[in-house]
Symmetry: C2
Subunit: 316 residues, 2 copies
Amino acid sequence: MGPRHGTDMSESAFIAQLRAIATHPAARGLADDCAVLDVGGDTLVLTHDTLVEAVHFLSTDPPASVAWKLIAVNLSDLAAKGATPMGALVSYCLQGDPTWDAEFAAGLTHVLETFGVGLWGGDTVKQSPSVLGCRMFGATLIGKGGALVPSRSGAREGDELFVTGTVGDARIGLLHARQTPSSMSPFVEAYRRPQPQLAAGQALASSVTAMMDVSDGLLIDALRMAAASGVAAMIDLDSIPLSAIADGIGYGNDRIARINAATAGDDYQLLFTSALPLPPLPCPVTRIGQMVHGQGLRLHDRAGDVPLPASLGWEH
Amino acid sequence: MGPRHGTDMSESAFIAQLRAIATHPAARGLADDCAVLDVGGDTLVLTHDTLVEAVHFLSTDPPASVAWKLIAVNLSDLAAKGATPMGALVSYCLQGDPTWDAEFAAGLTHVLETFGVGLWGGDTVKQSPSVLGCRMFGATLIGKGGALVPSRSGAREGDELFVTGTVGDARIGLLHARQTPSSMSPFVEAYRRPQPQLAAGQALASSVTAMMDVSDGLLIDALRMAAASGVAAMIDLDSIPLSAIADGIGYGNDRIARINAATAGDDYQLLFTSALPLPPLPCPVTRIGQMVHGQGLRLHDRAGDVPLPASLGWEH
């Protein structure tokens, strides 16, 4: 419900119309990816993401990987809050194809077991013949927050900007999977089976001023964080971390490759700001820039200022 | 995820496959309509229902009433737990039609305000052109449970069986709305804008042995409660409460009319069992039968035993 899924006017208008009833503190003004609820001295973090065929996954993706992605993208939102996942409610529409349904259920079992998440409920619906073949799946994930639950709006002037892991592999994977659906390359795996950065999020939660996951593209998500925080983001393109395999096949090391990586979606890394020394982390982390006075996004590399690309990421 | 939406083999197989990972007490074995989570001394009740066009609502239903129904059917699940609603996460797919979207948002605002429910978040997604026109909406509702949170499996031999309000109006409304979508009759309103029995559920929660909402038909839901509880349900058809308006237009007063009312869905009344005197209730309540030794469902009326109809309700 937050701005994560784009700046399309119709969506903005839709959310603006609803903001008047989002006054409860748990809603965080609909400006975040999760609801944060204080209950009986504990903090619950709740999030819901829906995946739509041909928007969030490919029609040719295996059902088990669609189930993985459905849970993983929600876990990534919990990771950005430093939350520990507890349970899931899953909305599944039966496909009228027992094989597809069984493979999805097996994939759902696998991903929930992998991350220690309980299946608490949800809804299984049939489709009408009039919409048969519509693949749209939802999940609500419930997690437990720590003492501090970061938002995307807390970045301050002078904070350094970091990203975990590497970005851009999923973009290459999407291109591969479109061309060769049977491909099992590490890039295709990165696209189909993102790894939510739960341990990093938990380790970081009390050291960051703002945190969010990179789902729609590093640049667009950094711009959203800057806008929510009332500052500008200044990013050094040369510092954007590409994976060794992407570097190895010649996708890295030039301005266009790094812009491509930084404007693609589905990375599910954590983007965060901090003014403190970072705690020990279970994954690589890279300083990619700084928050500064002003608004918007500024790019540079070793050759100087870099004009903003026409698209900063996915808006869906 | 519970048995509420039918006994279709494919759905049963799907849920059976998932039951192995539903071991957390909050899941209640996927045999209930809500998850029930003890957290910090409080009890949270969580439920998710998805509405599908041409299955749960008509293509001609006004967008505002689709929004009403989306929230109301989830509130009805909370009502059956005696819970007080707190907040909602809503999954909405933009229709590519600003008027439809705006009317849905207005309807969502109205229903959430009517029941004092906060909008806490959710997800707004665009559709791909390949599935454009697919109307499938989800909502997760979060409520606070009382000291006792009834399940559907607690009915015992000898308990009396009750239903709140009246049943069957929504069935007539569905027939009317199919024929004349512009109709605004009370029957059509009953179909499009069900009234969750929240106050009754809260009043009843500590006096019942089992409780659930009547969403798919009084008979099928009574059979589900009996099966979950390991007893048989014996129902007196003559006692099934029809509304005065339904009686007034000649739908009542005969066996077929009462069977029609008791096998139609969308009533959203509360069905419950109790062996205690009932507390004061904010709505009419009718004793319709008793739980007895055995299994299954038995019907009778003043003329004697009544054979079970071929369909006991909706299975979707």
